[in-house]
Symmetry: C2
Subunit: 505 residues, 2 copies
Amino acid sequence: MKNLNIKIIFQMMGFLLIFNGLFMLISAGVSYYYKDGATEGIFFAGIITIMAGLISRFTTKNFKKRINKQEGYIIVTLGWVFMSLSGSLPYLFSEAIPSFTNAFFETMSGYTTTGASILNDIESMPQGILFWRSTTHWIGGMGIIVLTIAVLPLLGIGGMQLFAAEAPGPSADKLHPRITDTAKRLYLIYLGLTVAEAVLLKLAGMSIFDAANHAMSTLSTGGFSTKNASVAFWNDKPIIHYIITIFMIIAGTNFVLTYFAFRGKLNNVFKDEEFRAYILNIIGISVIVALIIYFKADVSNLATETQLIDHPMVYGRLESAFRHAFFQVASVITTTGFVSADFTVWTHFLTILFFILMFFGASAGSTSGGIKFVRHIIMIKNGILEFKRSMHPSAIIPVWYNGKTVSQDIVFNIMAFVILYLIVFALGSLVFGLLGLDFITAIGGSASSLGNVGPAFGQLSPVNNYDSLPSLGKWWSAFLMLLGRLELFTVLILFTPYFWKTGKF
Amino acid sequence: MKNLNIKIIFQMMGFLLIFNGLFMLISAGVSYYYKDGATEGIFFAGIITIMAGLISRFTTKNFKKRINKQEGYIIVTLGWVFMSLSGSLPYLFSEAIPSFTNAFFETMSGYTTTGASILNDIESMPQGILFWRSTTHWIGGMGIIVLTIAVLPLLGIGGMQLFAAEAPGPSADKLHPRITDTAKRLYLIYLGLTVAEAVLLKLAGMSIFDAANHAMSTLSTGGFSTKNASVAFWNDKPIIHYIITIFMIIAGTNFVLTYFAFRGKLNNVFKDEEFRAYILNIIGISVIVALIIYFKADVSNLATETQLIDHPMVYGRLESAFRHAFFQVASVITTTGFVSADFTVWTHFLTILFFILMFFGASAGSTSGGIKFVRHIIMIKNGILEFKRSMHPSAIIPVWYNGKTVSQDIVFNIMAFVILYLIVFALGSLVFGLLGLDFITAIGGSASSLGNVGPAFGQLSPVNNYDSLPSLGKWWSAFLMLLGRLELFTVLILFTPYFWKTGKF
Ligand SMILES: [K+]
Ligand SMILES: [K+]
């Protein structure tokens, strides 16, 4: 710890705060345009955040540019916390969300792209605040792209090294030069896709405000909506569902592959094992869900049960069943969490299935949360090979992935990650139980928070929100979101003695 | 497959059938003594089973004594199936359980020491049949002791090699000579402990019949009772609860350690990491549960809710809370599944906790099911070390267990086992969901069947039974029991190509 370069940490925090503050000023502009009454609050939040950032940078001006692993870990976790603390100021100053617990929860849910909300009447919120809410998703998505593609592999977290080898990004030990280069290209794609989706949604019948917000929420796999009923508000406009579904799937794809696709290297995309597994699972599971909805759970009947969601059968029952199945499967697998129908009331089987889907996650290098396909693939391949190994105990039988053998260390790291994920899930459920939540609410809430999905089950089902959680439950949920978003190790390592014991690595 | 020694497989099956048939004759004797009307049926089941065994052995008389891994796997799985098929004959012939599905379920539940039952009125069954039912537990327990201590380590299954190193048993490659030696000693302990518990239960106020049956069910961590209310029948006799609790804990202890204890080497026992974790967890969790029952869930109130279980406070509320907590925690952790109170209606927190306990399992080398402490210990230690490894990526950092380093292969095998266990649990739940079970019944039933616990949640809660399952659900549950009992790999490997591809290993 003696060699910790604290100044560079504050330099980074300062940079993040200024960056965050500038985005607040944009939201203040939106607020001003709509004359929603929240302009002053959002504006001052932005100014104060920028000033805090400037102070942080000026007081640590003579910092050394050397950065090591230890500082890397601290910057990542602290960065997310600083963003969430400053990001809650617009809610607090505008008094749109007066309680600090609620404002912090909503902000953490935003930056972690979870999309769980404590708002009971979203539609009554000032437009500037709703825009800021979607912006936290969008910024969180940017953060996670650079994190998983450029930073985590260097830190050796959760098997992400594996995937780094495929990326056009850095493979050396220095953080700076090539990260910014890679990040710039990926951000351009991220921005371009957001604009493209917003335009399409506008053309399909959304207002420009709703279109922009939903595009930001989609690309970040966040899930905040501007409507109380989420995307179900547009259940009479199937084309909107299809646009959002396609963009959710794109958002759940490794951005490096999307970059390849834009450069015309489609072969690289379709040969990628993770992408293939991801797409085939979405299609396969959607078909199963659609058949079950069609034969067992008439979507149109659900309007009366939930009293919130209307289900007009625009193109008939079959299309409706397929569309909602496709939408919800993509929404949960990509951990976006948009809602077109209450998937928790379809059938018992589908409740169990969607609960399991909470543990899927989409692709590494995307904005999605959860365990992610690359880990599932390695884990299952390795599990099957274990049978071969027990028949040939002396042979060395490695796992193959994308045409290369995977080192033992990485397989180890991935299995340890998954086991740790499940242990945290179990502890997460226990704490929710201790706070008085019932069985399915507790385990669903834990899985959904940790996987950055958003909607869960029971009291936290798609037609409810997280406001009914006790105060401590909100903090616990926010902590789980952060853990899940930063791939567990990044946060938890700060609590181990190994991290603090030595100054040099 | 060309070199498969089929004759030795049938020799072994013949041996098992004769052995099983002889035990049926004992139950026929019990039936005769009580004049319960089932004597003839049980007697003929025994004779037919013995004859089938003799035929199996005589027709394969000129077998080669060479046995390899492949045959080992087949013998283990097929053995359990043959036992369950023949073991259901007493139920069928006596017409105590006329349906084949039900009879097979009850028998598989017996041999796997799961203790899930389809009987709606246990107390109306002929004594001979109840005795046979407990006998299937007891035989299953014998089978699993020799399996985990002597056979599985040789087959290299699920990290059991680790534990084999500690055992006084075989470490060479030959199955025969030392196995029988070790087995004999452990069986003497098993028999001795069963007799001891039966005597104590008799002294504490049970009838000799109930005492014998419960002793067999305890030592095998099976859980079949002779009463509809299970051990709750004796809720007015706390001493019976304490006796059973202590013997459940002994039954969940590695029998090799118990052997050391009998030889006075108590140091070996208390230095064993698994034993320490096992005991400390039972004590710690019992205390937490007792406090929650005491302050949050008055045990005495539950009698009216469930209408089955009476809870007299013999020594006051505090003792009652502690006793039921201790009993149920030990019952679920050791996967015995005896019931003194309906633990699924205490509090939401306790429901979640007991659900998680279903995944614990007691010690390797005991008769308990589930994942077991040795695996949890290695897994958690390795998970924590993964943090150290990510700080020092070039260092080799092994897991230590009982004063020795654990080889990478074994850690790998254990993690693969746990992940496979959880995947099977998830699939198990999905199938139950497909058969129409609700969420908590499906996931509880899957966890309980796979972990060989017995009681579960919802429709399969401690005050219900498995008869309400649809027919296919009973077969699926029985299959999960077998998978869990034989540590997954043993059964599942038969479905892999690796197993059948080569004739020589
Ligand atoms: K989300
Ligand atoms: K049991």
